[in-house]
């Protein structure tokens, strides 16, 4: 239903420990942010894309779909950097406008690929129950897990409500569209709270008295993967340095 979520479960890297993928993706993200955009971010972006389409085997169609909207935002956001204003009427092309906009867009695009590298290979189901190990209070991780479970039920309902409204001509005019949207939001609200109430009863039957602790599937971080990742990151940093010095 959410393409990235479904891709994460289907990924060949699904069974890797989340820490491995976090090190790789966040390490690359750090490089994208901290290294000079050219050539650092470019190298990182290419690396992330190769990892995604290569070993992580994300279908290119899916990658394009996931990246489309954020890229659009990155590009619109870069437009103001191209001009300089000193008053309401005095507008000129910014002297380093193209360079700033290009560097920012390049860095953001590379960073986006790093984010996708994590998101498209690591299901939240594998992350949330492990978050308490890095200091997130259990109450928060348990609420987050409940949000994760419930949001799919609600997305289902919103989708169905929308269909039913369309069948009954709910999107013919501006006015009916607003009425329909309010109906969707209202229906989802009621759904959300009846869900909470029913789950409360259902969990009480399973013995819930305050803890929603569960066991996670056994996974051990692979030393080889971690070592390769560290080497890869170091190589990226070195390569960027060398290119900067020689360039």
């Amino acid at each position: 239903m959410l393409a990235l979520d479904a891709a994460a479960y289907a990924s060949p890297w699904r069974r890797r420990h989340p820490a491995e993928k976090a090190l790789l993706a966040l390490g690359l993200l750090g490089c994208a942010l901290l290294l000079p955009p050219w050539p650092g971010a470019a190298l990182v972006g290419v690396t992330a894309a190769v990892a995604l389409l290569g070993p992580a085997a994300l279908p290119p169609r899916l990658l394009a779909r996931a990246a489309r909207t954020p890229l659009l935002f990155i590009l619109t956001g870069s437009v103001p950097m191209l001009v300089a204003v000193s008053g309401p009427t005095s507008v000129r092309w910014a002297p380093d406008g193209v360079a700033t906009a290009g560097a920012t867009a390049g860095r953001a695009a590379a960073a986006l690929l790093c984010l996708l590298l994590f998101a498209a290979t690591t299901p939240l189901a594998d992350v949330l129950p492990r978050l308490h190990r890095i200091g997130v209070p259990t109450a928060v991780t348990e609420v987050a897990a409940l949000i994760y479970r419930m949001l799919f039920l609600l997305l289902d309902s919103v989708h169905a409500v929308r269909q039913a409204q369309a069948a009954r001509l709910g999107y013919r005019t501006w006015a009916s569209t607003y009425r329909s949207l309010a109906g969707q939001a209202g229906a989802v609200f009621l759904r959300a709270f009846s869900l909470a109430r029913r789950l409360e009863e259902g969990l009480a039957l399973r013995g819930y008295t305050g803890s929603l602790a569960v066991r996670t599937e056994v996974r051990r971080p692979s030393a080889a993967f971690l070592a390769t990742t560290v080497l890869l990151l170091a190589a990226l940093v070195l390569a960027t340095r060398m290119l900067v010095v020689t360039g």
């Binding site: 409940l146 607003y178 959300a192 969990l203």
Partner: protein
């Protein structure tokens, strides 16, 4: 108004984390306390968070012809108060980044500040203020939701202006630039969100 992954320079991204953290910690304490007293509150909070996520995924038409998303924070803050919304909002923003590639991890601090802190506090403050001034429920809800949406967009513009000051006029010029480019979509959207929130609250008070 999500700032995309990697868009902010690293120092500023880190600074926004530093600014947001105390609010989120305060909200977390609040939440942990609430859950300890009443275990069933977890389920309600879960439902609220899921609702906020789904609400922000509703596509609402805007004048430019494109579709945009309500922030959902106005309604959330009116219903669940601001501190708790800062935690739920943070979780929702994290989910949006990882499930929709909407926003990002490095910009999470900045996005949390605009959407999970300023938005809810403005909504809550405006709602209480307008009610005290004798505004009806509809007017208060409209003002709260629309102003929360606008405040979120102003904060985002300021965050971008700080990161990319104008070479001639500095922060102020940049604020005007970013502000005007997003105003095209955001002002109609704020009004839409205000109206929509009123309709939802009306629907809810009737049932």
């Amino acid at each position: 108004m999500h700032i995309a992954e990697g868009y902010l320079p690293p120092v500023q991204a880190a600074a926004w984390f530093a600014v947001s953290t105390p609010f989120v910690i305060h909200g977390t304490r609040n939440l942990v306390h609430q859950v300890r007293g009443n275990p069933d509150a977890k389920l309600l909070l879960g439902a609220s968070g899921a609702f906020t996520f789904v609400l922000s995924a509703l596509k609402i038409p805007s004048v430019t012809g494109s579709c945009s998303h309500p922030t959902g924070v106005g309604l959330g803050a009116i219903l669940f108060r601001a501190p708790v919304m800062s935690v739920l909002g943070t979780i929702v923003l994290l989910f949006q980044a990882l499930l929709l590639a909407h926003g990002g991890l490095s910009t999470l601090g900045a996005n949390v500040f605009s959407m999970a802190i300023v938005g809810p506090w403005v909504a809550y403050g405006v709602f209480v203020l307008v009610r005290r001034l004798g505004g009806g429920l509809g007017v208060s809800v409209f003002c709260a939701a629309a102003l929360a949406d606008l405040a979120t967009y102003c904060v985002t513009s300021a965050q971008l202006a700080l990161a990319f000051p104008d070479p001639d006029s500095g922060f102020v010029g940049a604020l005007a630039k970013f502000g005007s480019i997003f105003a095209l979509t955001q002002i109609p959207l704020a009004i839409s969100e205000g109206l929509l929130t009123v309709l939802v609250v009306r629907l809810l008070t009737r049932v």
